[in-house]
């Protein structure tokens, strides 16, 4: 301790004085500043202020969400690494481990959609391969405003292109995800990317700076002036003019360098020449060095003048806070620097020693030998104050829940037109326009790509397989955040069991508004509580994730959107099941119970223009029974298809199963004799339901298994000849359309909007 107390820090020439205004501009409160004074025992320099600002931002420090995140279940026997590392890791058997995580890049994508989304993918890939895992799949969860706005179309196409170009170039297949369009996301789209990586269990490496005297090396791309203060930028509301003014805070991606960095990093980790590695992601060199020191309880000392830079004249402040992409901080074993450099050189990348690990617990930065920052490392990473705020539900939302549905429930007769309209809604229609821009089959492990309930990949050397999905309905969460979050977890689990996978673990991305507003904090807290309850119930621990607050523009806050990324394991990947009908004459069965629920549905939005009512109720016990029944049916091998009922309800789920095969659409004949309102029965989004098909001769077996698991199940109809009629008949209403017309509507909706909108 005595050493650092003798260090005298002088302001660097040209640096501004640290004034209360400058402190506020760095997003730090008076209390936080007082705490900094206490930690340092003196006033910080401008450089140190920048360091604290980044490390204590929501993005790095989780100061507004940490206390709530503690409520999530994070443990299970199969969890190897829980929250707090670059990514969560679980045991998947056969001596293998899965690293997986989701990351948001919302604000960058709002101002520069292509680069914002591309670098989001780059960041999440690095989080995975810095654990020692080879990335094997990407998923993406996206939210945009209504596509009738040219600006939204620009954001949408830019984001999709950005995700595609980056992942395609690195060569990681995209195997699924989701997209939702609603005016709430107009100024603030959500771009969440998830990555899965596989490694041998004993090859896991952590982001630690251990072993006094070991060498810190800056690896990969050079440091430039892009993305400075990106972490702080992500932790405030977007100004209405942020389009132009914030662009320099968005990073620029280079997937080619990323591919080289990926190969070099994996080779480096295997080589045994390094003890730790971490992405220079949010808050760049600052956070990677501080977090690595913090995790191992050591200190670090490095000189910014030794960091390879793109341009001369960069200040320590800029070098420390740059978020230039495709860079890593590596801790090499002392004396092994030449070997590290040799591996990087093979991949045409640089590796420069910039400092070393120390034992004094200080985060010490020099510039040409002169100390410019000297901060105790642990308080920097762990001392960030955490907050809880007042909660109060917005009265407007309470009122919305009691929206009068009587006139909708009274509707009778022909629902064909409303059905066709719903199929053409971008929220229901085919998403092929998106995922056909993503390479889904590279690496030759993709068993089921995007467009189904969940993506499935095999891993070589095993019979088993991995399934992954991302889910959340922001409208449900807006109307009732606790129910909505539970529904997201339940839907993710249903999607996994549809393909035959046992739900195993979760990563989450909490996209919310400014937590200082009581109504927003209420949503955050409720959603975390709902998620915690459902994840505990399903035994799917949360192993990590990301928090993105301040998702608002010009006072318009997005719907609370706690995206769930869930992974599951299939015992026999060759038996992965799709959602398309496969055979004429097969019987169609519905597992689960229909209810008269229409609140928060796409139907309500399309027909009444409102997001209102109570969202569908989630019965966790019934969900678990449904999951077990479905998995038993998989084991029996009697199903030909399985599909979750989601947006658009039972009618749209039937349509999807009829339309999604490689050849022409199937005809469908369904009859339901339940005394429920037709609109609710057709389009209501009641949870806990699954649509399956099987050979006529197996129907009794399906009913038997369902009964054993106490899941109400009935035969509702049959698969008819291709290109025939699609009909659903209820006591008080019906749908009757030609399946060919239905197919056109479903497939052409998004392309038609996007092509009509081309300049």
């Amino acid at each position: 301790m005595s050493e650092h107390q003798t260090v005298v820090l002088h302001s660097r020439p040209g640096e501004p004085d640290v004034t209360p205004r400058l402190v506020a501009e760095h997003g730090l409160s008076e209390d936080e500043y007082d705490r900094i004074l206490g930690i340092l025992g003196r006033a910080p320099t401008f450089t140190e202020l920048g360091i604290f600002s980044a490390m204590w931002s929501e993005h790095c420090g989780y100061k507004n969400s940490k206390r709530l995140l503690k409520l999530l279940p994070t443990e299970a026997p199969w969890v190897i690494q829980g929250p707090g590392e670059n990514a969560g890791v679980i045991d998947i058997g056969d001596g293998l481990a899965l690293a997986f995580k989701v990351e948001s890049h919302n604000h960058p994508s709002a101002v520069e959609p292509y680069q914002g989304a591309a670098t989001g993918v780059g960041g999440i890939l690095r989080d995975i391969f810095t654990m020692g895992a080879r990335p094997v799949a990407i998923l993406d969860s996206l939210r945009f405003g209504d596509l009738d706005s040219p600006r939204v179309r620009y954001l949408f196409s830019g984001v999709v292109r950005g995700i595609g170009d980056y992942g395609n170039c690195v060569g990681i297949p995209n195997i699924g995800g989701e997209v939702f369009f609603d005016r709430t996301y107009e100024g603030n789209p959500l771009v969440n990317a998830m990555c899965l990586g596989i490694m041998k269990k004993d090859e896991i490496i952590r982001g630690e700076a251990s072993g006094t005297g070991n060498t810190l090396m800056a690896v990969g791309a050079r440091t430039g002036r892009d993305g400075i203060h990106g972490a702080t930028f992500a932790s405030e509301e977007l100004a209405e003019d942020s389009d132009e003014s914030s662009r320099p805070r968005v990073q620029v991606g280079d997937p080619f360098t990323e591919k080289l960095l990926l190969e070099a990093s994996l080779e480096l980790i295997k080589s045994g020449h390094i003890v730790g590695i971490q992405d220079m992601g949010a808050a760049g060199l600052t956070s990677s060095a501080a977090e690595m020191a913090g995790r191992s309880g050591s200190g670090v000392k490095f000189d910014v003048s030794r960091v390879p830079v793109r341009e001369s004249g960069m200040t320590p402040y800029e070098i420390l806070l740059s978020e230039s992409q495709e860079r890593m901080l590596v801790v090499a074993k002392s004396g092994h620097e030449p070997e590290v450099r040799q591996i990087l050189e093979k991949w045409e990348l640089g590796a420069e020693p910039i400092g070393c690990v120390t034992d004094d617990g200080q985060f010490r930065v020099l510039e040409n030998g002169t100390v410019v920052a000297d901060i105790p490392a642990l308080p920097l990473t762990e001392g960030c104050p955490t907050y809880e705020y007042d909660v109060e539900e917005d009265h407007k939302i309470i009122a919305l829940r009691s929206f009068d549905m009587t006139h909708i429930l009274k509707r009778k007769g022909d629902f064909s037109t409303q059905f066709m309209d719903l199929l053409g809604s971008p929220n229901v229609a085919s998403k092929a326009w998106i995922y056909e821009q993503y390479d889904t089959t590279v690496r030759t492990n993709t068993i089921m790509g995007p467009g189904g309930d969940a993506g499935v990949i095999r891993f070589r050397g095993s019979r088993r397989g991995l399934a992954a999905t991302m889910d959340c309905n922001g409208r449900y969460c807006y109307l009732d955040p606790r129910q909505g979050a539970k529904a997201a977890v339940a839907e993710a689990a249903r999607n996994l069991v549809c393909v035959g996978a046992v739900p195993t673990a979760v990563t989450n991305c909490l996209n919310f508004g400014n937590p200082l507003k009581p109504s927003n904090y209420f949503q955050l807290r409720e959603a975390v509580l709902g998620m915690a309850e459902a994840c505990a119930y399903f035994e799917t621990p949360v192993t990590g994730g990301n928090v993105s607050l301040y998702n608002e523009t010009g006072g318009q806050v997005v719907y609370p959107t706690p995206v769930i990324g869930m992974v599951g394991i299939l015992e026999d990947v060759s038996r992965a099941l799709g959602h398309s009908f496969t055979q004429e004459g097969d019987l169609i069965l519905l597992l689960g119970e229909n209810r008269e629920e229409i609140g928060g549905s796409e139907y309500l939005y399309r027909n009444e223009g409102v997001v209102a009512g109570s969202p569908p109720l989630v019965d966790l016990s019934a969900e678990r029974q449904l999951q077990r029944a479905t998995l038993s049916l998989h084991e029996e091998g009697v199903l030909h298809s399985a599909h979750d009922c989601a947006e658009g309800g039972l009618a749209c789920a039937l349509a999807e199963s009829a339309l999604s095969g490689p050849k022409g659409p199937w005809g469908v004949e369904v009859e339901l004799n339940e005394p429920l309102a037709p609109a609710a029965l057709l389009f209501g989004e009641t949870q806990g339901r699954m649509l399956v098909s099987c050979d006529r001769s197996d129907a009794d077996r399906v009913l038997g298994v369902a009964e054993k698991h106490q899941v109400p199940t009935s035969v509702i109809g049959s698969v008819q000849a291709r290109s025939g009629t699609f009909s659903i008949v209820l006591p008080l209403g019906f749908i009757r359309v030609r399946s060919g017309e239905m197919a056109r509507r479903y497939r052409e909706a998004i392309p038609a909007i996007m092509e009509a909108g081309q300049p």
Binding site: D165, C169, F256, E436, T441, T444, V573
Partner: protein, 231 residues
């Protein structure tokens, strides 16, 4: 049969090619890094898909200057079997080992989905195991796959029966919709004058196992073990 899979910085289907070759007992695949100047003793060369050198400047444009390429050129001119898939096709065109060029898809978007291609000739070391006119299903995944050549070259390709595959409908017919990238004459793959160098945009190495949805690509690998007399 020793097969070299060339890995450029940015190649990302090298491993897929390697694994596909391993499925056939006849092949003994190995990776060759692009800085090697000698192929060693090999019987065939694969240029895999990906984004060699980031596809900067133009797809395949920088890869033609990789140290390994003169050796690949010599091998090809001496009659060695060379297959370039996707990015590998682009590299072969840029290197002058195949005529023409690959332009940006006419949809202006990256396209990744299954396509149907028709076997146009069985007189190549890559197609003997197919029937002429056979329709194959396999994935494409590219942004720059629109085959282009001047009228004279196209006429030569047609006259010399050097068009290996064309994009067609599932029924085997030519149509505008079935051509995913605006390729001239719906060309999905061609061979050189000596018929020993193949370039194709679709990915046969992704269609070699029933688990992956198609085995239609296997014929290309199986054909490679035949003798020149057979093609």
């Amino acid at each position: 049969m020793k097969v070299a899979v060339i890995t450029f910085p940015g190649s990302n289907c090298d491993y897929d090619c390697y694994k596909a070759l391993q499925l056939f007992p006849e092949f003994e695949p190995s990776f060759i890094w692009h800085r090697e100047q000698d192929l060693g003793k090999v019987d065939a060369v694969f240029l895999p898909g990906g984004f060699a050198h980031g596809d900067y400047l133009r797809a395949g444009a920088i890869a033609q200057f990789s140290p390994v390429m003169p050796a690949v050129g010599t091998f090809a001119r001496e009659g060695g079997i060379v297959a370039g898939i996707c990015n590998g096709f682009q590299v072969l065109c840029e290197s002058g080992l195949l005529p023409g060029a690959l332009l940006r898809n006419d949809t202006l978007r990256f396209r990744s989905h299954d396509v149907y291609i028709r076997v146009e000739t069985v007189g190549t070391p890559f197609t003997t195991e197919y029937e002429k006119g056979q329709v194959l299903r396999m994935p494409i995944a590219h942004g720059e796959g629109g085959y282009y050549a001047d009228a004279k070259t196209l006429a030569e390709l047609e006259d010399e029966d050097r068009i290996a595959f064309r994009y067609v409908t599932p029924e085997g017919n030519l149509s505008r919709e079935a051509n995913p990238n605006g390729s001239a004459h719906a060309i999905a793959g061609i061979v050189n004058h000596g018929r020993n160098v193949l370039g194709m945009m679709p990915h046969p190495e992704r269609a070699v196992e029933i688990l992956l949805g198609s085995t239609d690509g296997r014929g290309i690998f199986e054909s490679m073990t035949t003798t020149p007399e057979e093609w």
